[in-house]
Amino acid sequence: MSVLAVIVMGLALVLAHTLRGANGGFRLVHIGAFALSLAVTALVIRFFASENGIERRSDYDRFVLHGLNLAEASNAPLWVFVGASYSRNAIDDDGLTARLQERGRHVRVINLSLQGASLQERRAHLEAFLARTPRPPERVFLEVAPEFDADPVYVFQVAKFSDRAIDQFTPRNTARATKDILARQCGGLVACAKAAAFTGSHGLMNAFNIGLLYSGERLEGMEPEAAWDAQTEPREELSEKQRTEISSPARGLALATQEALREPHAWGAAYREEWVAELEAADIQVGFYFPPVLDPGKRAYGRGLCQREPYRPCIIADDPELLAALDGEVWFDPGHLLVPGADSYLDWLADRLVEARP
């Protein structure tokens, strides 16, 4: 509970006790006064919360704090990997930093990934990192996966009516998501109607600061935590079909070729383009990557993107040699690696990063 919250509680008591029945009619102008006052109050609260650094927080903020600690503890150029759970289980910041140094690249790798993180969520947290980092990163690598590109309101697949979900629907994001939903980039009328309803309600909840002074806190008050999430025991046993997808390059490649012909999801592509432009305008080099998964379609989606990105580093883990090395007890589940799998991947990734053009 912040001092601001206590002050606001006092204000609530003052208003609640002193307001008493109004004389006169109840007309449109009174509804207007109510709405205007509500909006102004929301803006004032947002201003003071922001001035005090009070925001809705999630684990992602802990990762940002950890990343900032890593950046401060090193004088090497920073390479930041921004993604979702694929990256959380695959990219060991320290492990990849050491591998790159062994290969002659003196850089500090920072993993900023959270499971289920939508593109908007990743961008917001990268911005939070950029706002506080002692020096801007030399490179930022953006994870590319089809499911996040396909859905402008992906967050609703992992969270609804929570701080994490509400936080993403800033006025800018809400307007953009609404525009994209209206353009039917959400898979059918029913899905679009649901997405529109959720977007509207979350946008309103964000605009009216619902719960901001309850769960909001200052970044400095949080405990840092590494995003790297080392998994040592499988979560599920892989089916024979799933095994074939990694061990039979022929089948995988056939599927992958079909997928690769597909255009990238328009929403994700456009969003990323805008994001990349913003980063490059700040003199940050941008690259793309996708950690290993069993699903050849997902790997192919990344490769398709790489075909359209000849000028930026683009490292998709669909190398048959790497995949062959991952044919064993290295999978946490079909989309995520155990530590031995991550080790193989990082060896391979370090080589590709060293080879990659700046």
Binding site: G21, G25, A33, I45, Y214, S215
Partner: protein, 466 residues
């Protein structure tokens, strides 16, 4: 479904619209009855059978008792039957395991292994409230203070009226039944007074009580999952801070619920009496009980203390009656010896209050009373007497580790409580803000503040467990 759930607002909007769209008293009451069933069944549809039984028994016994002449033995029998049936329901669901468990522990203490196991009984939400309401109806009819209601649906609505069904205030039939007969019109005054009470209640609950809960639950343990507390690990400052926070939480939570209930009832044209009158401004224990959970304390006075003899049998009998009333009042709150101790402590406080001949000054009375009330909240909230002693010893400074840093809650909670009480007392004397534009702008600002304080994961109301 609780008042702070999003689903409740949808439910309320539907019921409100249906209630005012239809014409005719009985139809409206029917809508409220159906809504009450939905509201209660939302927790667990099986509870509906239980409340239906309580309603049916109360309606029948009151009718039967009323058919007999006053003083007639069968009238008394119907009264006893009605009360007993209600108390058996309450006793089975709330106290069966408590008494069976206590008996088993006593037997084990003398080396006898009891031959029974405890039942897995689900405590129906609000049972203590609606059973007391049902009993008051039967007793009022049997005493001749109230005409029996012939229509079962009206008794059902009185006992199950959803705004106050699960956590009170405990409403008397004599005040509720006439309101069912009254013609109701949706007026601006009705809307505004309902909104005012509801928003104040919401500010209490979501704006303050829920913000205090995170300082209480980690120390005392989660109210709804007993057995998870380990108070010994906390510093004295944390224990004292958590106790102050709990004193604030329980007041703002329960008073908040009561106000929201009053507000919702107003929107349907019903008046429910106030349940709190700034109890932390009380200057004696007697004063405290005139201000705290007024509907329960007046129920205990009218249906327990006075029937026991009240203050009519001399000083000792008065003290005995006070103690018995407060111990049973403590037990009403929960099936645990700590609640009995809480009731006994307050009973003792009332006795001492009567014994003390010299009147203390208002300030000293306020300080002594509130410190006593604060210490009494410890057994009310703690899971066992070991925890109670741990916290009390933290207050004395005798506990190892010294007093440590004083928690800021020790200042913030009394400040909020004082502000609330001062404003509550001053507001009626101030010139009311009757300029409509300013009034509605003020409501908008209040709504904006409450929304910002609103917890997304609202804690259940503390009194739901009772």
């Amino acid at each position: 479904m609780i008042f702070t759930d999003a689903i409740f607002y949808a439910f309320l909007a539907i019921v409100f619209a249906a209630y005012w769209i239809v014409k005719g008293k009985e139809l409206r009451l029917g809508i409220l009855l159906i809504a009450s069933a939905v509201f209660y069944g939302w927790w667990d549809w099986r509870f509906l059978f239980l409340i239906a039984f309580v309603i049916g028994v109360s309606w029948l016994t009151a009718l039967q008792a009323a058919k007999r002449e006053p003083g007639e033995r069968t009238r008394r029998r119907w009264l006893v039957f009605g009360i007993a049936a209600n108390l058996i329901v309450l006793g089975f669901f709330k106290y069966a395991n408590f008494f069976a468990g206590s008996a088993a522990e006593s037997l084990r203490a003398i080396g006898i292994e009891p031959g029974w196991t405890l039942l897995n009984i689900l405590l129906p939400v609000g049972i203590s409230f609606y059973v007391f309401q049902a009993i008051s109806y039967i007793v009022d009819v049997a005493r001749g203070h109230l005409a029996p209601e012939q229509r079962l649906r009206r008794v059902a609505l009185y006992i199950a009226f959803f705004p106050q069904l699960v956590a009170g205030p405990i409403v008397r039939a004599a005040s509720f039944f006439p309101q069912m007969d009254r013609d109701k019109r949706l007026t601006r005054g009705l809307l505004a007074s309902g909104l005012k009470a509801f928003l104040l209640g919401l500010a209490y609950k979501a704006g303050i009580a829920d913000h205090l809960a995170p300082f209480v639950d980690p120390v005392y343990g989660d109210t709804f999952t007993p057995g998870d507390a380990d108070l010994s690990q906390w510093s004295n400052a944390a224990l004292i801070g958590a106790t102050f926070a709990f004193a604030g939480q329980i007041y703002f939570d329960f008073a908040g619920y009561s106000l929201m209930a009053i507000g919702v009832a107003r929107w349907f044209g019903f008046y429910i009496p106030r349940n709190f009158d700034y109890p932390y401004a009380a200057t004696s224990i007697q004063d405290f009980w005139r201000r705290w959970h007024i509907s329960l304390s007046s129920w205990l006075r009218d249906y327990l203390y006075i029937p026991l003899g009240g203050n009519r049998g001399g000083r000792l009998a008065t003290y005995r009656n006070l103690m018995a009333t407060m111990v049973l009042g403590g037990l009403w709150h929960g099936a645990a010896w700590t609640f009995v101790a809480w009731g006994a402590l307050h009973g003792a406080g009332l006795v001492v209050n009567r014994l003390a001949k010299t009147a203390t000054g208002a300030v000293l009375g306020l300080v002594l009373t509130q410190f006593f009330v604060l210490l009494c909240w410890v057994p009310f909230r703690a899971e066992d007497f070991g925890d109670v002693l741990t916290v009390w010893s933290a207050f004395t400074g005798l506990r190892e580790g010294g007093p440590g840093m004083l928690s800021w809650l020790v200042f913030a909670v009394p400040a909020l409580i004082a502000l609330d009480a001062i404003l509550g007392k001053l507001a009626p004397r101030l010139a009311p803000l009757r300029q409509p534009l300013l009034y509605w702008a003020g409501l908008g600002a209040l709504a904006g503040i409450v929304l910002a304080l609103y917890p997304l994961d609202a804690a259940p109301f503390v009194y739901f467990q009772f």
